[in-house]
Amino acid sequence: MERVQQISVFAENKPGKIEKITAILTEERINIRAITIASGNRYGVIKLLVNEPMRAFEALKKKGLSVALNPVLAVEMEDSPGGLHKVACLIKEHKINVEDACGFVIESGKRAVLLMETKQIEKAEKALLSEGIRLLSEKDLYEL
């Protein structure tokens, strides 16, 4: 099974919160692939994709942060018009509900990736693989 571990950090909505996280990761020489922030009113969740998720998790936890490690699917798409649509259609057909997602380009004009969080991860995995979609592993992502 190809799953990618994503780091989530609980943070109050105050200046300096991202810096606190990046300082720890810099110190540990961990590389960040992607970051998104889901913000509530007074607090939010900062999500990170890094090259060494387990080590990042331990380092952040050791510094007293509330941090979680969750599996997400890294769905490969074509970087061309309709690329995301193709994946979205399959997700719809298989009735998969997406909790959170973000995307980025891997190779301009060629490949992009959709990071997808869902409570039905096994079902989504099977469905996408059966449709011939490639799911990237952690190794794939960091050896780009």
Binding site: S8, F10, E12, R42, V45, G64, V67, L69, D100
Partner: protein, 433 residues
Amino acid sequence: MSSNNKIEYIAREELESLQFRRLKDTLERVYKSSPFYRKMFKENGLNPSKFKSLKDLSLIPFTTRQDLRDNFPYGLLSVPLEKVIRLHTSTGTTGKPKAVLFTQKDIDQASELIARSMRMTGAKRDDVFQNMMSYGLFTGGLIFHYGAEKLGLLVIPAGAGNTERQIQLMRDFKTTVIHITPSYALYLADVMEDMGLDPKHDLSLRIAYLGAEPYSEETRVKIQDIFGVDAYNSYGLSEMNGPGVAFECREKEGMHLWEDNFIMEIIDPSTGKVLEDGEEGELVLTSINREAMPILRYRTGDLTYIYPERCRCGRTHRRIARLKGRVDDMFIVRGVNVFPSEIERVLMSLPEVGRNYQIVLEREKNLDKLRVRVEVKGDLFNGSLEHLRKLEDRIRTRLRSELMLTPQVELVEAGSLPRTTGKAKRVIDKRKI
């Protein structure tokens, strides 16, 4: 039961006649020697020789904390100064402290009650006892120390604070029994966790005496769970010897108030009317086995009730319930009476909530606002914003049904609220009234 704990199982009738003899003796002594009580008796036309039964106690006016302050330092002293060997003062008040004086016999008696209480909960001579209460003017440190020595335990007088040394001592000497404030116990657990230690496996604790600040049953359960101990609740106040006025037995259901040393009453705090057993009100205590400074009908400010039924353990001394709070801890928000202990009970029953919280009272456009700041516990955070929103909702709903008031709930990062090593300050009142 062994011969030295006979007094704990004394027949009620016998206990009451002992109480009356000691009360009568106390009244005669204070009338003769305490300037404050002599004046009080004369002004109210009272004479100790006229007291015929325990019921007559209600003829005596209450003694208040203000009386102790007004007659500071020696107004309530009932023995010549040459017989006094110790001064303690009470904690937690602003301005002038209350002075509490002891003769040698008073110290011995106070220690005896602690020894009795510790033995009741199963402490033995081969236990190692680490006392993490502050020594000095506060009675909780020294009196407990003497009590533990009297029972014959190995006593480590660690005092309060210096957390890493506390942990080192517990590990080096395989401490089995501790005396600690509940907030410090939780703090200690946090520090151990940060050091990569597990309080349950890396320590040898089996008993924890929790005291000096109000806390909820849920906090007790949490502490028992974290340390793998039996945690016992106790009650005391400097004005009445200090710790060990009342203590839980192994049933952990209410605290036996040592009625051979104190007479207890529960009153309605607004009218002063004496209430029945089972009714909640303010605890009023009379010390009947004290030399230097007996106090009659002292309004403790603590809210509780007396269990009407006999304890399963068979001891005859009646039990008081876990304190609901002090009359003056209570705050009023939009006309609703709120006790911090009620808020704590709700928070500690939720697994995602950390060990620390803060209650903030504010006034905006003449409207009171209650804000509860709660730390999110690291290992139960699952990474989703939705989960946090639901948690916030759940806390708000639970508090609303408990308090009849909708608080604002604010989730904050673990470790971001201030921690204290002594009595925790949980309520911050920013209202300008």
